[in-house]
Amino acid sequence: MADDEDQQQAPASQTVEEPLDLIRLSLDERVYVKMRNERELRGRLHAYDQHLNMVLGEVEETVTAVEIDEETYEEIYKQTKRTIPMLFVRGDGVILVSPPLRAGA
């Protein structure tokens, strides 16, 4: 990160060598992030680090909750969504990071 100016800047390796490199391919693209506690994020990935801390822009958070109807005992899934312009996400809550799921893929 804080490289000395005088040292030659080695060109950032564009080969995929480890799983974290797959996330690097999604930088500045929209991503889908599945998190613990039934949360999902969709936003533009601005930055990430080795802990999977991430900075997402224009992100929509979806929280899914299950309610059980007292009489019919059916499971009702309720989703709560909200939008946040710029979000820092702590990595220990992240389960997976992926390109956004496309319908019909």
Partner: protein, 115 residues
């Protein structure tokens, strides 16, 4: 705040650098126990522990508490909502160039040639 070599490493090599660059901004911290804390970020360390002032804490039940200062452990943070107008990469680069100016630079003649 801790100044161990581990903390310094984290402060320079993880995304904590962005939180440190955001010092003096108003942020909203969502914690893992579903509390929301709005306040001005005064300090952040390499681990991501936060110090906010003039903070309002809204807990799960909706109760609002105003405090002059609050220390939030990094492990309890779920999200930090940053000011909407910032560009994260620019802020990180500005912060790095500010820290470089403060730190004395090694004179060029002592720098080793890269083989």
């Amino acid at each position: 705040m801790a100044a161990s070599s581990r903390e310094k490493f984290y402060a320079n090599n993880t995304l904590a650098v962005l939180l440190i660059a955001m010092e003096n901004n108003n942020v909203r911290v969502e914690t893992k126990n579903e509390s929301l804390i709005k306040g001005r970020l005064i300090n952040c360390d390499g681990f991501g522990n936060l110090n906010l002032i003039n903070a309002t804490i809204i807990n799960v039940r909706g109760t609002k508490i105003k405090v002059d200062e609050i220390y939030i452990k990094a492990s309890s943070v779920r999200y930090v909502q940053l000011p909407s107008k910032i560009n994260p990469i620019e802020e990180i680069e500005k912060h790095i160039s500010r820290s470089k100016q403060r730190k004395p630079q090694m004179p060029a003649k002592y720098k080793k040639e890269k083989t």
